[in-house]
């Protein structure tokens, strides 16, 4: 389906092109509905209040990611996009992941005995430092 997306409008208006577009319109509508459903699902699940925060986060982010793929894949027609674009996006995502992961990781990765102070600061026996 690539050619119809890449703006090779030479054949624009021609019958097969028309069908092509018509088919995409169907896809768009389906995606649209899927997105709405996804939203409703996330919100609904949220009202169930799972015991563990992790589950809530996991589900919410999972659904969000799926929605993101739908938008990027179909609305932004990435699935039929050229590989130059992929190269750019993949490296971007990698660097973003690196930034996020290393930054957050380094927060926990501290010298032995390091403490984050909050007011009030707990006193500590000189004997036992650390968390």
């Amino acid at each position: 389906m690539g050619h119809s997306h890449s703006p090779s409008h030479s054949n624009a208006g021609s019958a097969d092109h028309a069908q092509e577009v018509a088919r995409h319109v169907k896809v768009y509508i389906t995606v649209f509905i899927a997105l709405l459903v996804g939203t409703v699902v996330t919100v609904a699940l949220n009202y169930l209040h799972f015991e563990s925060m992790t589950v809530t986060v996991a589900i919410a982010l999972f659904v969000a990611t799926v929605k993101a793929f739908l938008v990027a894949g179909y609305f932004m027609h990435l699935i039929s996009e050229k590989k130059a674009i992929y190269a750019i996006l993949v490296s971007t995502i990698f660097f973003f992941a690196a930034m996020m992961y290393l930054t957050v990781w380094s927060r926990g990765q501290l010298p032995w005995g390091t403490r984050y102070l909050s007011s009030p600061t707990p006193g500590a026996p000189a004997g036992q430092i650390g968390h």
């Binding site: 660097f95 930034m99 930054t103 380094s106 909050s118």
Partner: protein, 606 residues
């Protein structure tokens, strides 16, 4: 904001300049990549001068703390008031402002605009045989953002409280608290200026990448691109992906300064014995991570274009192909890629666990390898050449060992354990100045001497050029070499009195007298370094009018496409459509008529 300008400009690429254009449209609001390149060049050189002048005042204060600055002292007092420059003496506050602004101006307003924007704009489209950049309007917007950013930064000197005082790194909480007296303080201006400069770089980066991907002339395959274009290509990606995080951080620090948020302010801050009335809960280290996520790639933004220039000029003046063109390209990519994951080597002493420290030490060591490879290739390229020692080549030859020294001294900093002793000392200052000053600046000088005839149609004066070179080389080293010793001895940076506080006295062990005395020598060397630029400045302006006219479009007998255009190149660059038939550095091809075969020259065979 940038969203609109960008998206809007994206489309209005070529209704630009059809009609006969007037002076304003031609020189001020031009969309021609060459004019924009020149605009960038001039502005950046002026900022380079400003950066130097700030530093000159700092150097005086370092050598003679408490003594009024000669010549400009009175002026400073008039400009900045007697509370910070009483009797022309630099107060610690003013010193900190100058220090922060010297760094900021040199990096973001002088070298990057000169190396990336100016040379990139002028040369890249010519070298790949394009008629212009892909998005001329965006290109113009990029320069305007840069100019605005420069104005904001410059203006910040004259607002109540003065310019930013917290180092070019602007670490929180200091950046937020340095100037609590004023709502719109220098730091706020700094942040606004940075957002403008970042926007400018982003627009530029998008433009460069799109241009190189889309507008290469027929036959200009990727592996036929001059290394300079590769360097700019990688650089553009660094700017594109590393700058936004700093923009985000800038926005957050702006919120901290103006709206009392606590992104970078931890719980329980106590200033002068009083609890600070903020919510707290923020993280000072978050700022450092986001800053250095830009900060490290930025330093390669400073060096890659320089390496590009060096490669061009070496090939041209050794009259032989660059040795290991492919490894150069791959190394540039390796550097680009790795530079995103080494940033925390600037944060070794903030307290790092074993794992994270090991990770960043390892990546830091790995990233030094491609630099080694690049330098090795450039060194080996000299072998078997027929070397012409004209001014550009002299600067380029000097670049090699100078960058070498700067780079090598990066290694002891790259290990967490040895950085324990060297961090924040003048060793670091010497390390990176060797790379950016006798390194990058020399490469830029070389580039100016090299492309000057293409831009103006006249050569710059060789004798003055050689004087400029030798004096600069000598004094650069006299300025920065002693700093290694000072750093090793433990002399710290960012001290308005050059560490006088830490002099050894009877009863306390501190800095040896000799180390502190060196400050005086360095300062004078720095002044002479400034004087050494006069031949250049004179040569520069004089040659525009009176330089020796070039006899051909290709005065250096070069192979790359920019020399196939008329001199200076008209709007639209090439008079006839160009096709690249061969690699970029076909010098002294066995059996060829001349010792250079331009890329555009068709093969004899068919």
């Amino acid at each position: 904001m940038d969203a609109t300008t960008h998206a809007a400009h994206l489309h209005e690429t070529h209704d630009a300049h059809h009609e006969e254009v007037g002076f304003l449209r031609k020189y001020v609001f031009s969309t021609d990549h060459k004019i924009i390149g020149v605009q960038y060049g001039f502005t950046a050189l002026l900022f380079l001068l400003l950066g130097f002048l700030l530093m000159a005042c700092m150097r005086w204060s370092i050598a003679y703390p408490g003594l009024p600055i000669p010549v400009v002292g009175g002026l400073l007092e008039k400009l900045f008031g007697s509370d910070v420059a009483a009797g022309g003496v630099l107060s610690p506050d003013l010193y900190n402002s100058f220090g922060a602004m010297h760094g900021t101006i040199m990096v973001f307003l002088a070298i990057v605009p000169l190396a990336f924007a100016a040379f990139g704009n002028y040369v890249v489209p010519l070298q790949i045989g394009a008629v212009d950049m892909a998005f001329p309007r965006v290109n113009m917007a990029s320069f305007q953002c840069y100019f605005l950013g420069g104005v904001v930064m410059f203006a910040s000197f004259f607002i109540p409280g003065g310019a930013a005082k917290s180092g070019w790194t602007s670490y929180s909480p200091l950046a937020t608290m340095a100037d609590l007296g004023h709502r719109f303080d220098g730091q706020t201006f700094w942040l606004i200026g940075m957002v403008l400069l970042i926007t400018s770089s982003l627009l530029g980066a998008v433009n460069f990448i799109a241009t190189i991907i889309q507008l290469r002339a027929p036959g200009m395959t990727w592996m036929r691109m001059p290394f300079f274009c590769w360097a700019q290509f990688v650089t553009a990606f660094l700017l594109l992906l590393a700058f936004p995080p700093l923009e985000a951080a800038g926005i957050m620090q702006l919120m901290d300064n103006l709206f009392g948020t606590s992104f970078f302010l931890p719980t329980g801050l106590i200033v002068a014995g009083n609890p600070v009335d903020v919510s707290g809960g923020g993280s000072p280290l978050l700022w450092q991570h986001l800053f250095w996520f830009l900060g490290h790639p930025e330093v390669y933004v400073l060096i890659l274009p320089a390496m590009g220039i060096v490669a061009e000029i070496i090939a041209n003046n050794t009259r032989k192909p660059i040795w290991g063109y492919k490894s150069l390209v791959y190394s540039a990519f390796a550097i680009g890629f790795l530079s995103f994951i080494v940033w925390a080597h600037h944060m070794y002493v903030t307290g790092m666990g074993t794992k994270i420290s090991t990770f960043f030490q390892t990546t830091t060591m790995i990233i030094s390898i491609p630099s080694v490879i690049i330098l090795t290739c450039l060194f080996i390229s000299l072998w078997g050449g027929s070397i012409r020692f004209n001014t550009p080549m002299l600067f380029v030859l000097a670049f090699l060992p100078m960058f070498g020294i700067g780079g090598l001294t990066g290694l002891p900093l790259g290990f967490n354990y040895s950085d324990l002793h060297l961090h924040d000392t003048y060793y670091v200052i010497a390390h990176f100045h060797y790379v950016v000053a006798p390194g990058t600046i020399f490469a830029l000088f070389a580039g100016i001497y090299y492309w000057f005839p293409k831009i103006t149609g006249r050569m710059m004066n060789e004798t003055l050029g050689k004087i400029h070179f030798w004096l600069s080389l000598i004094f650069m080293n006299l300025v920065f070499m002693p700093m290694f010793a000072q750093g090793m001895a433990g002399m710290l940076r960012r001290m308005y009195n050059g560490g006088a506080t830490y002099a050894t006295t009877d009863g306390e062990v501190g800095l040896p007298a000799a180390i502190l005395k060196a400050n005086i020598g360095v300062t004078h060397a720095a002044f002479f370094l400034g004087l050494a630029q006069l031949p250049f400045i004179f040569n520069f302006f004089w040659s525009i009018k009176n330089g020796k006219k070039v006899t051909s479009d290709n005065p250096w007998d070069a192979t790359t496409l920019e020399w196939q255009t008329p001199t200076p190149p008209p709007h639209g660059n090439f008079t006839k459509p160009v096709v690249a038939h061969r690699g970029p550095y076909e010098y002294s091809v066995p059996g060829a008529a001349t010792d250079f075969t331009p890329q555009s020259e068709p093969d004899k065979k068919h």
